[in-house]
């Protein structure tokens, strides 16, 4: 599905709107005015060399990182702050932050499954304790989610008993169990042995088909080329180039061209 089709849809409002975002860690200026619009149901791939600020940008979207300047809107709602009548801002409290996050699923490079829970318990955890779903119902739904990622037969395994690829698929199922409208992936296949990458990418393709808005930081050019509606290339804290997936084969800037040569 192309960008043009999407914006012609009923869509109208973007799923994610990032406006001139800055991030400084102390005196280290990591993001220097990044803007990005993600339309509902599209897949955005973020590419860039190590240290360019990709993870920082992604983590800001669900407030694992605060921003130093700029604005982020999720489905039109300002992230992290509440606008006050007098034009000022107030920080959101714990409960409000949690509510904003529950609309967004996130998948990490190092999986971060809960090691003291089995696969199915990992998937059930948030629906039961955040969503208030009854345990029996949540277990049934969790088994369905595990089935979707092809792991129904591993439901009662602990994470340590699963391969990396299986762990990452459980992590995806765990995020999907909260029925998020947006999924963030931070290098989901970078910690995997090459032969396990394919199974995770296959699951991600399927998620994309289901119309969930996806933002994916990745080094998998094949995946980006095939699945992404929008490709963003970042370097040294700024967006250097962005466009459709065709820019991977026809980079417009020298820096992106050089980067592509180094990874392909």
């Amino acid at each position: 599905m192309s960008m043009q089709e999407q914006s012609l849809d009923a869509a109208g409002a973007p799923a994610i709107e990032i406006v001139q975002v800055h991030k400084a860690f102390g005196s280290l200026h990591v993001l220097k005015g990044v803007s990005l619009t993600v339309m509902p149901g599209t897949v955005t791939a973020i590419l860039g060399p190590s240290g360019s600020g990709k993870s920082t940008l992604l983590r800001m979207i669900n407030q694992l990182e605060t921003r130093t300047g700029g604005e982020i809107f999720i489905e039109g709602e300002l992230v992290g702050y509440k606008p006050l009548g007098n034009g000022g801002l107030r920080l959101l409290d714990d409960k409000e932050v949690a509510a904003q996050r529950s609309k967004i699923g996130m998948v990490f490079q190092r999986f971060n499954l809960f090691p003291h829970m089995t696969a199915v318990e990992n998937v059930m955890e948030a629906p039961v304790h955040v969503g208030g779903v009854a345990k029996r119902e949540a277990r049934e739904q969790a088994l369905n989610e595990l089935d979707r990622v092809g792991l129904a037969d591993r439901a009662n395994y602990y994470p340590a008993q699963l391969s990396g690829g299986q762990q990452q698929r459980v992590a995806i199922a765990r995020a999907l169990a909260m029925h998020p409208s947006i999924m963030l992936f931070d290098e989901p296949t970078s910690a995997l042995d090459p032969e396990l990458v394919g199974e995770v990418l296959a699951v991600m393709r399927q998620v994309a088909k289901e119309g969930i808005t996806m933002v994916v930081v990745t080094h998998e050019m094949g995946f980006a080329r095939e699945v992404a509606d929008q490709v963003v290339f970042m370097d040294q804290g700024v967006v250097v180039e962005h466009g459709g997936s065709d820019i991977i084969d026809h980079p417009q800037t020298e820096r992106f061209g050089a980067f592509l040569k180094s990874v392909l």
């Binding site: 996050r101 190092r110 003291h116 955890e125 304790h129 602990y158 340590a160």
Partner: protein, 325 residues
């Protein structure tokens, strides 16, 4: 367990069955240990100074048994109080609120920094030092007041003294356990929309328990013996006091010390069994062997086998007091 090394009923035509390598080391060691143990046992049983008939006579003495009851109660109440306080103190230490952090720091500084024996003396003297306690506005009106003696009996003073002191040590153990849990765990939970308190309760503490339980077992066993210090309060019903009282009456200290030792060992054995069950419970998912990921998983917090801590002086004091009493 879905996966195991055992037979599993699988039909493997060329299943390997090999006998283990025979090593003489274990046999030699076993013989040496058995001989030494027999020598010690022979010495102890035949040595008239140990006076086993007296040991046997007083092993199930009424006062001794009630002393065990009190020792167990003091241990349990003090440890429960200490655990609850320790978790609160550890959370306060990690809080964003500087006042809470300061209070926690001060509590730990004070109760770790002064001898438990002295603290127990003060708890015992509280009714003398502060005869009445009142609720009200400082330097203003009083709403309610009570005699300290009615509020804090010798038993309460003993539990408070032991529990508050222990809480300071335990809270550092709890804090170390919490800090050992990978931050990725909290982040993953937060990303799922879990709130801070829920993350602590469901995700962080259960994993921290693996690290907290072994040294807490140590502390509990230490507490069992530290209870003998409560004669500082003075509280005079627990096991060590009971056996000492009998020893002083019949002029036979050695057999009565043996009686106390036997019972402390019995209780310690039970506590160690409880500890290993707890370790098994909180080790779920961690005992499972990783496979197929070639070490690329997030690191699991390491298992500690109990930290040494500066309780040596506590124990020494306990023995000295026991002998002198």
């Amino acid at each position: 367990m879905p996966r195991s090394d055992s037979d599993g009923g699988l039909d493997i035509p060329n299943r390997i069955s090999a006998r283990p390598v025979r090593k003489p080391g274990p046999y030699i060691a076993a013989v040496v240990v058995v001989v030494v143990a027999l020598m010690l046992l022979h010495g102890m049983v035949t040595n008239p100074n140990f006076d086993w008939p007296t040991v046997w006579m007083y092993l199930f003495n009424e006062n001794v048994l009630s002393g065990i009851g009190w020792t167990l109660q003091l241990t349990v109440y003090a440890m429960v109080l200490a655990t609850v306080l320790a978790v609160i103190l550890a959370m306060m230490r990690k809080s964003a609120n500087p006042v809470l952090r300061g209070v926690s720091w001060f509590f730990i500084w004070f109760f770790r920094g002064t001898p438990v024996y002295t603290q127990l003396v003060f708890w015992g003297l509280l009714a003398v030092l502060v005869p009445r306690m009142a609720l009200g506005i400082p330097f203003g009106p009083e709403f309610w007041s009570i005699d300290t003696k009615t509020l804090i009996s010798a038993g309460t003073a003993a539990v408070l003294g032991l529990g508050l002191n222990e809480a300071a040590y335990l809270s550092e153990i709890v804090r170390a356990g919490i800090e050992a849990v990978d931050t990725g765990q909290s982040e993953a939970a937060a990303a799922l929309g879990m709130r801070r308190s829920l993350i602590m309760r469901r995700i962080v503490l259960p994993q921290a328990m693996r690290i907290i339980v072994p040294p807490t077992g140590n502390e509990t066993i230490g507490m069992l013996k530290t209870t003998s210090l409560v004669l500082a309060v003075p509280f005079s019903l627990e096991l060590q006091f009971a056996t000492n009282a009998i020893a002083n009456r019949i002029y036979k200290p050695i057999p009565l010390l043996l009686v106390a030792c036997i019972w402390y060992l019995v209780i310690t054995t039970v506590l160690m069994m409880l500890q290993s069950r707890l370790e098994h419970h909180f080790g779920k998912g961690f005992d499972a062997r990783a496979m197929g990921s070639k070490g690329k998983q997030p690191p699991l917090p390491g298992k500690t086998s109990g930290e040494p801590k500066d309780a040596v002086d506590k124990v020494n004091q306990a023995t000295m007091v026991g002998l002198n009493a």
